[in-house]
Symmetry: C2
Subunit: 401 residues, 2 copies
Amino acid sequence: MISVFEATELVLGSVRPYGEEYVAIEDAVGRVLAEAIVATRDMPPFDRVAMDGIAIDYAAYAAGQRQFEIEKRIAAGDPIGTLSDTHKAVEIMTGAALPKGADTVIPYEALTIEDNVAHIVSDRVVQGQNVHAQGVDLQKGATLLAPGHWIQPADLALLATEGKAKVRVRRAPSFAILSTGDELVPIDQEPLPHQIRRSNVYAVQALLRQYHVQSIMLHLADDPEAMHDQLRALMGKVDAWICIGGVSKGKKDFLPQVLEALGVRKLFHRVAQRPGKPFWFGATDEIVVFALPGNPVSSIVGTVRYVLPWVRSCLGLPWDYSISVQLAEPFRFDPPLVRFVESELYHDSSGVCRAAPRPGHGSGDFTRLAYTKGFVELPADRTHFQPGEVYPFWPFHTFVA
Amino acid sequence: MISVFEATELVLGSVRPYGEEYVAIEDAVGRVLAEAIVATRDMPPFDRVAMDGIAIDYAAYAAGQRQFEIEKRIAAGDPIGTLSDTHKAVEIMTGAALPKGADTVIPYEALTIEDNVAHIVSDRVVQGQNVHAQGVDLQKGATLLAPGHWIQPADLALLATEGKAKVRVRRAPSFAILSTGDELVPIDQEPLPHQIRRSNVYAVQALLRQYHVQSIMLHLADDPEAMHDQLRALMGKVDAWICIGGVSKGKKDFLPQVLEALGVRKLFHRVAQRPGKPFWFGATDEIVVFALPGNPVSSIVGTVRYVLPWVRSCLGLPWDYSISVQLAEPFRFDPPLVRFVESELYHDSSGVCRAAPRPGHGSGDFTRLAYTKGFVELPADRTHFQPGEVYPFWPFHTFVA
């Protein structure tokens, strides 16, 4: 049995790149950028008018002139114009390019206009005001978004401004999600009294989909030869497997031996944690295999704590997406194991993020998943955990911050 | 000009329900449940064996018996069996139903088995141990997930266990996202020196898509008659419009009058905030119209602070999804306006969520969107904001907690 730390190191030691692909800008949110987005123009690309009003040459104002005849009008979308007489003004709209010869914009709020002559009624005009100067935000050639950036909704404005209708992103590894256990029936089937429906696989698939992982689902027979054939047929079809169940010490737990017979090299079996202790992990040159225990909470913990960090690392994101939270209530756990405990999560009115443990009746109890937001990770070398102490929290739903 | 509080009240006063629809379980994450998910069986549905080992009658153990002949084997997926002789044992697997006549499971770790006889080597056996008793997590008829629940990845395990291959969810309002401004060209076009590409609309669409909002994009001509015709043709096609630009005081800002000519009742125009002051809001019986100023940061602020709360409220989610954060650095803002300031966000090592303001060069500067996570909302009646003070933070990417 190895520690959670050692298991994490071995999982991250199996990280590989899975190439790149193009997606439409509309599908880019949540993807990891594989190219640098470089400003091909200054930002703004021209001296951009930021208020509606008149554009003047500040020198005339500084010399005391307060009345400016309007020589023309320029709207957003009009080509860059010229103020031909520096003692006159151009009436101008937000978003337009500042005309040559002008350097300052006086907004309507500071004007009266009569018979095509604007009177400036403010004496607080500053040279260059209300002009969003070319290149002030960013200069041509600067990096807007770097490779490895995890694209969020607001970033699409930056991609669009650079004309990235298609965006080059990193490809996530593809998965097969493999359930085991003869007691399981498909979701659309009525279970007999001793049966239950397959359920974990849907949660695991949804957790993976947060990183745009493509996955297929398959149920394995509780029979070593049939299982061997099913898994051999899967070789080369996907990049990684998550097997659920069949890794404990029972008579039917022959998944580890089947995997090893298929040439999957065992990297560890059993981790000093609860839930999820019988976790088996291995790899070949082609695939990486996470074999998680079959209880619902165990398989979700294994996905959140090991599979998603591996996926993130393959994509070049920081593997550790846990956040630091304060424990909201005391908790006790005696065995010398890391304890992952389902918890509610909230931001209190002082800005502190707090987690309240809501352990169920063991790893088979998944009724609490509906109102918990993830797991607090409590270290193995302590037994009494007090309110206010800070621990890592692993969310079910990935946070950005 | 009205306050941010009043504007919020008026926006939320226009909340309407938009019906329900069915989605496949695979597409249910992020949707809002429209039905109660009720347990149709106890959870677990039978006395479920939680460890591999032997099932015995505890009375025999209590009477001193330590050797149990194995009378049969039962695996997960086998029908519910019976321990016919209460002085014998059934060898049993995790996930199986406990046989009638047995009440306690001794794991392999506490056994030696020789010649079909199990010897119990532990003296710490407790009646009922390693049995996940029928109904202990939840009883038949109890609510697993209530209507209005915002479905997260782990919840799919609960939907699947109840056989919900299709899930009834609330329908989000559909949107048209309408850009204005003759200086804007499509994303796939090379802009001339005085032009820029349409960009805000992509960010706004991505922000909406977090709530599974369907939207179309359309560019409006900077001409009142053409605009009138385009908007009239759109009537009845979608539930809500977001217009971007054309609401300030410029000569080309005739969007408010066109909207009113179309029968859209103005509920307010101009809000005491920066950025986004020229925000116009109105409605008819059929549509709700958010007309946001066209600067990139303004339109994103308007979407995050008003449109998304409206969408959430239409779906029956709490409208206020801001979180309380501590300011990480001092900030000063003198005008008597609410200031929404782009900020970085992080959880520090004491569990506190902190926001660091990163204001750009005005609302036209959207280069900071790549490394800020949302907006801090600073009240209008103060000018100096100090580190450690707590304010609401509106994230670009929706948090669950």
